[in-house]
């Protein structure tokens, strides 16, 4: 920890005017001096993780070394890879062609705002690849590349090793949050370019380990963290004990139950680490309540025990391979529909990709909440409902007995996670749940929430330990807004509906805004929900005294 920057030193580095730094005048020149700097990059993928899925060029390599051990014909592989993707993705082709470099996206990226590095301007991140596209695939590029100085006029360049390294460095400094895409007059989505850029890098075996190893785990074991079935059950058993201590009620969940009404899938992060574990306990309390009151039969699965999908950060194909388990397990168990937990990119995958990739889910029923009778028309084809949609519906129909006072020590604000916000539009459902479970709620400033929300700085597989400087820089805009409501309204709790957020934001808060806790929405639900037959609670799910209790 000693060589980490202090928040003050990190702030010193911010400068939004690229001219004043030591950057050469034309960024195309800087490829000669790509500096991959510790603190800003993630370690290379381990060969065994790459091998699990049979992905190319598994080997030990180190980004800091000159030799990246690329295949002999790596330029040809990339060229063919780009060509194939131009045909497969209209997004890619159009986004390569139509950017006018107006600069509207430049200061919308949290990584640019936090680092001041001009190559973190979304337009420039895309230009790294676009410069090569222009050279190799456009009429103007082919015309100009043989004329001296022609490449300069167009801003094109050859696919050199330096250019490749630069792309690797900056495509793993993008969290695919899509904030720039909101502001782009043509809707150019840097996330899409990064997704395809990373897919290209994976053709050469250039993944990072914080993505490759969870992918490998998820494929083999069922979840990113590699929790084996018996251990998964053990972990939930711990929660059962804790909940019983707190409430006096046994919330033992069911696993792989054939013929259950609903299959529940959530990110394994919620099973593994605080404060996600409390959110997980919230789910268990909710399902117990619905079972006892209304006879709703919910099952968990250790095979499909991962809601998240780090395959999304690897390639479209890998995403599909990991996602396939959800439908496969729902089909095997014969459930009616699937309920998904709080997670960010998981919901982008479910909302915009799952049905297309692995559907049609004709073996499931259009989701209906049997308790309220609500038919989830918006999920009629995919047959998967977000737990916040589900809970909001229950609350609206008065089906949950909630004691708000148990959360009255929490002064809350809500962090919209990038993917549910900009890849789905799940904005008001979680807010409704929060406000039903707690009284004190304040929004952060308007241009930092909803579709303009700022990323946690650690999404898209960048939540590693070795790139902490990058993460804290990227988290600055989010933290800055949290700090604002912390100082203005005394906000002490940052609510969120994403497992990566629950892992990343506590670190952010500790660094930038101490005294603010991170809390999942269903932790609030779990605290407030009055279980049938529960004892008088004196502690919340964190085993801290409930408000008012300590004085007695």
């Amino acid at each position: 920890m000693a060589d980490e920057l202090t928040p003050d030193e990190a702030l010193d580095k911010i400068d939004f005017s690229p001219r004043s730094s030591s950057e050469p005048r034309n960024w195309l020149d800087t490829t000669k001096s790509v500096q991959i700097r510790p603190g800003m990059y993630c370690y290379a993928a381990k060969p065994e993780s790459v091998e699990t899925l049979g992905l190319p060029n598994a080997r030990q390599w180190n980004p800091l070394e000159d030799d990246w051990k690329l295949p002999e014909n790596w330029q040809e592989i990339l060229h063919e890879g780009i060509k194939e993707r131009l045909e497969r993705f209209r997004t890619f082709k159009i986004f390569m062609d139509i950017c006018v470099r107006c600069g509207a996206c430049a200061d919308k990226c949290h990584f640019f705002l936090g680092t001041g590095d001009p190559k973190n301007m979304p337009v420039l991140r895309a230009e790294l690849l676009r410069s090569i596209y222009r050279n190799d695939f456009t009429f103007a590029g082919k015309l100009l590349k043989n004329i001296p100085g022609g490449k300069r006029l167009l801003g094109s360049r050859e696919m050199s090793l330096e250019a490749l390294k630069e792309m690797w460095y900056y495509f793993f400094q993008c969290t695919e949050c899509r904030r720039c895409s909101v502001f782009c007059p043509y809707g150019i989505d840097t996330a899409e370019i990064t997704i395809i850029g990373r897919e290209l890098l994976n053709l050469l075996g250039l993944n990072i380990d914080w993505i490759a190893t969870p992918v490998s785990n998820c494929y083999q074991t069922g979840n990113h963290l590699g929790i084996q079935p018996h251990a998964f059950k053990d972990m939930l058993d711990f929660f059962v004990e804790d909940i019983e201590d707190i409430t006096g009620v046994d919330c033992t969940p069911q696993y792989q139950k054939k013929g259950a009404d609903i299959l529940f899938i959530t990110p394994s992060g919620d099973v593994f680490a605080d404060p996600g574990t409390y959110t997980c306990q919230g789910y268990m309390i909710l399902f117990k309540y619905l079972k006892d009151k209304y006879g709703l039969d919910v099952t968990w699965s250790t095979y499909a025990s991962e809601g998240g999908n780090f395959g999304f950060f690897t390639s479209h194909e890998t995403m599909k391979r990991l996602n396939a388990k959800m439908y496969a397990e729902a089909k095997r168990l014969g459930v009616k529909w699937i309920l998904g937990g709080e997670c960010g990119h998981m919901w982008r995958v479910i909302n915009q990709y799952m049905d297309t990739m692995n559907g049609p889910a004709d073996f499931l029923e259009v989701p209906v909440n049997p308790i309220t009778g609500t038919r989830f028309e918006n999920a009629a084809s995919t047959k998967m409902v977000h737990i916040c949609e589900f809970t909001a519906d229950l609350i609206k129909h008065g089906k949950l007995e909630l004691d708000k006072s148990r959360n009255s020590n929490r002064v809350l604000t809500f962090h919209d996670s990038c993917n549910p916000a900009r890849g789905m539009g799940l904005l008001d459902e979680p807010r409704y749940c929060i406000q039903a479970c707690a009284d004190q709620f304040y929004e952060m400033p308007p241009n930092t929430i909803r579709e303009q929300t700022f990323c946690c700085g650690s999404g898209a597989g960048l939540n590693a330990g070795e790139n902490i400087e990058l993460r804290m820089a990227g988290a600055l805009p989010r933290a800055n807004a949290v700090k604002y409501v912390h100082e203005k309204f005394g906000v002490n709790s940052l609510a969120t509906i994403c497992a990566i957020d629950r892992a990343a934001l506590p670190t952010m808060c500790e660094y930038w805004v101490p005294e603010v806790d991170v809390i999942g929405v269903h932790e609030l639900v779990g605290n407030a929900l009055i279980l049938p037959g529960e004892k008088e609670r004196t502690e919340d799910l964190r085993m801290e005294p409930l408000p008012g209790v300590e004085e007695e």
Partner: protein, 335 residues
């Protein structure tokens, strides 16, 4: 000084001089007045079609709109039907606003960081780019439509109406058309942003400056001909009507300034399809804007969706069966 704008600036000057000298010195009226305009229009049309067909030929495997508002979910939650449309009607309105009002650009903010004073990042609404872009595009459109006067006889009513409103301030003789100076000023504003804003300057290439200088050249020569040098407008109309009816005719009294203007316009047309100016066509096809966010309600089909190897439940159970049985988890096969 910066090569990235000096080279395109010089190029536009030289292009103008080439036409001017070609006509005045060498009498190449036919080349600059007939041949090149025809070639330029052909290049524009063919290039445009090829480009758009190329985009259309690429698949749209996934439905990935950028959602900028509340989704359609529960009936009592108010959906933002424009920024997060789930129907084609919503998408239509979203695209209309995007194309005609530059809605996304309207959101533009400017970030500032105040080190040592407040240590805070702040964001302010920044409308100049939106205003500049709108002024530029609409002025250009009006100027372009007004020029239809040269290619039609009789001149259609809507063009006369457009001229009436464009000249409504009734200043000078010949009456000032507002669109001309607005186009010139807006282009100069966009140019000054590129030169003066450090971030935009950093990302700008020569290919960003070139069309700006070209359009400045076109607007400046146009304004010069209408208000200052007073060219032979009858002769020009004879010539343009000749072009459009495929009976080319070279008038005697029209000088080099006009041919310079026409040549720069020709260059712009020919350059258009191979440049970023194609955003004009691309915006219609941008999948993050022109699709409804309804994939969960209605299945979207990927034309190249292929089967992939997956790790099946059977493989999983085979791997973990003993541990699962020991933990009391249900299994399909006991051994």
């Amino acid at each position: 000084m910066n090569q990235r704008y000096l080279i395109p600036l010089t190029a536009v000057f030289l292009l103008f001089l080439l036409a001017y000298a070609g006509v005045e010195g060498l009498g190449l009226q036919v080349v600059f007045g007939v041949l090149i305009p025809y070639l330029a229009i052909a290049a524009f049309l063919i290039g445009f079609v090829i480009k758009v067909k190329g985009w259309a030929a690429s698949a749209v495997p996934f439905r990935i709109p950028t959602t900028c508002g509340q989704q359609k979910s529960l009936p009592w939650i108010k959906q933002n039907t424009i920024d997060n449309p789930n129907t084609s009607a919503g998408v239509f309105v979203r695209m209309l606003l995007e194309i005609f009002a530059f809605r996304s650009l309207f959101r533009n903010t400017k970030a500032a960081f105040n080190r040592n004073v407040s240590n805070k990042l702040t964001y302010s609404w920044e409308l100049f780019l939106w205003v500049g872009a709108l002024a530029f595009h609409y002025a250009f459109l009006v100027v372009l439509l007004r020029h239809l006067r040269f290619f039609t006889a009789p001149v259609p009513g809507f063009i006369q109406l457009l001229e009436y409103f464009d000249g409504i301030i009734q200043l000078g003789l010949p009456g000032l058309f507002v669109s001309g100076p607005v186009l010139l000023l807006a282009t100069l504003f966009l140019l000054s942003r590129r030169v003066l804003d450090a971030k935009v300057s950093y990302i700008s290439q020569a290919s960003d400056y070139f069309p700006l200088f070209l359009i400045i050249g076109i607007a400046a020569t146009g304004i010069a001909m209408r208000y200052f040098t007073k060219v032979d407008i009858i002769g020009i109309k004879e010539m343009t009507m000749g072009l459009v009816t495929f009976h080319p005719h070279i008038p005697e009294e029209v000088g080099g300034l006009f041919y310079g203007h026409l040549f720069l316009v020709s260059i712009l047309f020919a350059y258009f399809p191979m440049s970023k100016l194609m955003h004009m066509g691309g915006i219609f096809l941008s999948p993050t804007r022109n699709m409804a966010n309804n994939t969960r309600a209605k299945r979207h089909v990927n034309p190249w969706n292929y089967d992939v190897p997956i790790h099946t439940y059977e493989q999983y159970e085979d791997h973990f069966r003993d541990k699962m049985i020991e933990a009391g988890l249900p299994v399909d096969k006991k051994e």
